[in-house]
């Protein structure tokens, strides 16, 4: 087991320098009173360049990543992140100042406009805003659009319906947009039944937020009827596009009656997750909602791209500047590489891989919702001698990142497995074999799993201690 690296502050020695800046070549004159200037930054690191490199390389070795191996984290679409996209996004010629005059950044505006065209083509929606910074930010933006649209019609309404299988961001986003949440139970098939919907569809309902395929990996097959019922009630259909990977080139949400949806560029379009961001959450809308999109909007007039900063009906601005531009660059690069020949194959292989894993594992794990799976499959811990957590931790010992655990909440001890299309059959077979070994260990020696992991740089960490006595920064002379 490797020794854990010290903190950068513990490496610090007075007088060490890690960068090679020159001093100012203008006079050292200040126009701010000394009482406004600081004298120094106590305890700030003083480390040489080589020590910085070794420090972070040591940290890098402690991380698991998609580049390292299989990462079947359900709902997160941990597909391979193409390396060329990193190089393209780092190109000097794209690193403009966000307020650079538009005639000097036509290339950047074209990148955004072309990405929007792609998203429109893949979803069948009328237009997209690219400014939201992440999926939840897109949800919030979508809810603001719905609210503004209904307000303009003179009927703001106050409730958003959300199924019990939804990701926690859905109710949180709707709440911050000023809505009350009404939860709808999933039916026995794990989807929203038209009867359950009707029972909740009162005149005060602004919208339904539906994840499709849902968090069980099941397609909401009533979607067209649900859209019809909502529209007849004057309500809108919001689709959480977190799981769009299953549908690329297969079906367009706009053709199913979806009014608003967000997309996660960092899931479906192969941009790296970065250990928790940056993401990007473009929001697409049907034609009647176009005027409500946030600013800025990129518009093409003749052969030039222009930027529109105010739109009378717009919900306003949800983020500084244009959004996560370099994430958009990577997403466009990914789509251009795929082309029409491969976008559909992405969904087909993702669904094929998930169904292959389902078939190989369903004899040994309980499958609470047997409806057909798309991009992911969710098993429960029923009849297992150990907890889901123990299986997840034991996977770490075999060098595999666990699946998503304990979500969705409607499955007991959920194990949510999403292989994505970028995994080979060998990898899937290896995973099945490791799962077989772990399940055997669970029966023969459950204590082994409860103690897992033992091969990782640290063992199970005391999360209760972390929350009870929060230590959120290093302080000189204090140790835990």
């Amino acid at each position: 087991m490797t020794a854990l690296p010290k903190l950068i502050f513990e490496l610090s020695r007075e007088g060490k320098i890690g960068c090679g800046l020159n001093e100012a070549d203008v006079p050292a004159e200040a126009v701010i009173d000394a009482s406004f200037r600081r004298t120094g930054i106590s305890d700030f690191p003083e480390v040489s360049e080589v020590e910085i490199v070794r420090h972070y390389m040591a940290l890098a070795r402690l991380n698991y990543s998609v580049d390292a191996g299989f990462y079947p984290l359900g709902s997160c679409t941990m597909k391979y992140n193409p390396k060329i996209n990193e190089k393209l996004a780092a190109a000097d010629e794209l690193q403009a100042h966000p307020y650079a005059p538009h005639d000097l950044v036509q290339g950047n505006l074209e990148i955004m406009a072309r990405l929007e065209e792609w998203l429109v083509a893949l979803t069948g929606l009328a237009g997209f805003t690219l400014t939201p910074a992440a999926g939840a930010h897109g949800e919030f933006t979508g809810m603001l659009i719905i609210r503004k649209y209904l307000q303009e019609k003179g009927d703001a309404r106050k409730v958003v319906l959300i199924p019990d299988s939804a990701h926690g961001t859905n109710p949180a986003s709707a709440h911050f947009a000023g809505y009350e949440i009404r939860e709808i139970p999933s039916n026995a098939q794990g989807i929203i039944g038209i009867e359950e919907l009707r029972a909740h569809l009162k005149p005060d309902v602004a919208a339904l937020m539906m994840t499709n395929p849902n968090t069980l990996g099941i397609f909401e097959s009533n979607i067209s009827a649900i859209a019809e019922a909502l529209h007849a009630n004057g309500s809108l259909l919001y689709m959480d596009g977190a799981n769009l990977n299953a549908l690329l080139g297969i079906v367009r949400p706009g053709d199913l009656g979806v009014d608003v949806m967000h997309i996660n560029l960092h899931k479906t379009f192969a941009t790296p997750h970065g250990g928790g961001g940056p993401g990007s959450g473009p929001v697409g809308v049907a034609a009647h909602l176009l005027p409500f999109l946030p600013v800025p909007r990129i518009k093409k007039s003749k052969d030039r791209y222009e930027v529109v900063y105010d739109d009378p009906c717009s919900i306003g601005r949800v983020k500084n500047f244009y959004g996560q531009f370099l994430v958009m660059v990577r997403a466009l690069a990914y789509l251009l590489a795929l082309g029409r020949e491969n976008v559909r194959r992405v969904a087909e292989d993702a669904v094929l891989n998930a169904n292959y894993l389902r078939k190989r594992l369903e004899g040994s794990l309980d499958l609470p919702y047997p409806a057909s799976s798309l991009h992911e499959v969710v098993f429960s811990d029923k009849d297992l001698p150990v907890k889901t957590l123990d299986i997840a931790k034991r996977l770490l010992d075999y060098g595999i990142h666990p699946f998503t655990i304990y979500f969705p909440l409607i499955v007991h001890g959920a194990m949510m497995i999403e292989p994505t299309e970028t995994e080979s059959k060998e990898t899937l077979d290896e995973f099945v074999s490791v799962m077989g070994t772990i399940l055997r260990e669970a029966r023969e020696n459950p204590e082994l799993l409860r103690q897992a992991p033992v091969q990782t740089p640290v063992r199970r960490l005391d999360e209760t201690l972390a929350a009870r006595k929060p230590v959120l920064k290093w302080s000189r002379g204090e140790s835990i």
Partner: protein, 449 residues
């Protein structure tokens, strides 16, 4: 296709295992009439060389880099040591998910813990979160936090807050029972009008949100502002767009400020046409359990070894759903980690050097600009690295355009944000400039156009 490893033979074997003969059977759950739309309007696939060429061609349509730039106003050009780009690009940092499995995520977690620590050292406050989307959304989250914490619904925003930040705050709260009011600027010194502030602070005010250095470039008197806010038991919330100023100015906590939020793009993130950037939030301890966003905390493993985990997650949406302190999930974790790398590489002396060079360059410009008859420096004192100038003849936009023809981007015309402000330009200076560059700017400004 190079990103898809399955072979046709394997696909066939897998279909046999599943018990289907055609892949389309897996999509039988989807209404059939809507399936398999035409993809004819989508372009054809590109090989890797073709992809590179396609982006080169789009890149060639950008011509900003032929210009000497003094643009700032929320996004700043700073020198980035190569180790920062080299290390942050490692797949081990770039390609993990949120560290839900801390046993195999200690690298990201420790790096973020170090980042949190450095942000508290810079602001002097007790706690820093692991990131928010950007400066503008961090400001909106600070407004929500102040309202939540105080139980009051009235929030004052300084008129010299970045206009896009103010716009984002307005968009965020548009459907919530929160009242926003604007506190005027004292035109004489470019600072918040303290009379107006005291008049507008009342017993229902949750917070006063001010930017320092503000959108006119001027460093506010945070001590006086915090004192005025505290007199009515309101929080003083400072917004910082230029994080480099944190290394030059007195720590906000020493001035009595309760929350400092803003944009930390200056810490090692390229201009990137506006994103991804790094929203930060630092606060006094009492805000901790109401804060939005992720927090990394130290703890021990089974064997008593020091380690790090995401903590206090009962604030968050995946546990609390609509009762969470924020809807944020994915954030800017990699940017925060990279900022930590930048701060470590710059170190105590390098950061102080860069921070004072920014100021000295701005002072050099302002002093020399006083001799030019075409322009006037509006606030010759108390700026940090941004200088507001007034064009004496014609509009600032025209003046800006004429300098652009000479290859100089002379800051940002304020009229782009406020059409009433026709003759003002905000220019930013940093350590990427030297005397020669500033002299070129001055020369271009002084020429007859």
């Amino acid at each position: 296709m190079r990103y898809l490893p399955l072979t046709d033979r394997e696909r066939k074997e897998m279909k046999t295992t599943i018990g289907i003969s055609d892949i389309k059977e897996l999509f039988n759950c989807i209404p059939s009439g809507k399936c398999y739309p035409s993809l004819a309007e989508i372009p054809s696939e590109l090989s890797e060389p073709e992809l590179i060429a396609a982006f080169k061609e789009m890149g060639r349509k950008n011509s900003f880099s032929d210009h000497l730039s003094f643009m700032g106003a929320g996004a700043y050009a700073h020198f980035i040591p190569e180790v920062v780009s080299y290390l942050s690009a490692k797949g081990e940092f770039l390609t993990p998910y949120t560290p839900y499995q801390p046993e195999v995520s200690q690298g990201s977690l420790q790096a973020i813990f170090e980042y949190q620590t450095m942000m508290t050292m810079l602001t002097g406050l007790d706690v820093a979160n692991a990131s928010l989307y950007d400066g503008a959304t961090a400001t909106a989250e600070a407004v929500l936090l102040a309202v939540r914490k105080s139980g009051r619904r009235r929030v004052l925003l300084a008129a010299n807050l970045h206009p896009e930040y103010a716009a984002v705050v307005h968009a965020y709260v548009q459907n919530l029972p929160i009242e926003l009011h604007t506190v005027a600027v004292n035109e004489k010194d470019g600072r918040v009008d303290e009379h107006d502030l005291r008049a507008k602070l009342d017993g229902s005010t949750a917070a006063f949100v001010f930017q320092s250095p503000n959108f006119l470039g001027v460093v506010e008197d945070s001590r006086a502002i915090a004192a005025a806010a505290h007199a009515r038991e309101a929080f003083a919330v400072q917004v910082v767009c230029e994080a480099m100023s944190l290394a030059y100015l007195v720590p906000a906590a020493d001035c009595g400020v309760d929350l400092v939020v803003g944009e930390a793009q200056s810490f090692g993130l390229p201009l990137a046409f506006g994103g991804p950037y790094l929203g930060f939030m630092t606060a006094r301890e009492e805000f901790l359990r109401q804060m939005p966003g992720r927090l990394v905390g130290q703890t021990l493993d089974l064997e008593g070894k020091r380690g790090y985990v995401l903590t206090l997650s009962t604030r968050e949406q995946h546990i609390k759903r609509e009762k969470a302190t924020s809807n944020i999930c994915s954030n800017e974790a990699w940017c925060a980690m990279r900022a930590g790398m930048y701060l470590a590489a710059m170190g105590k002396t390098g950061l102080a050097n860069a921070a004072r060079t920014c100021h000295f360059n701005a002072v050099y410009f302002a002093a020399a600009a006083a001799a030019l008859k075409q322009i006037q420096v509006v606030y010759p004192k108390n700026f940090y690295n941004e200088v507001l100038i007034e064009v004496k003849k014609g509009s600032a936009a025209d003046f800006h355009a004429s300098l652009k023809k000479k290859g100089v981007l002379a800051g940002v015309p304020v009229s782009w944000f406020d059409p009433k402000q026709k003759n003002r330009l905000l220019l930013a200076f940093s350590e990427v400039h030297d005397r020669k560059a500033i002299d070129r700017l001055l020369g271009a400004m002084g020429e007859r156009s």
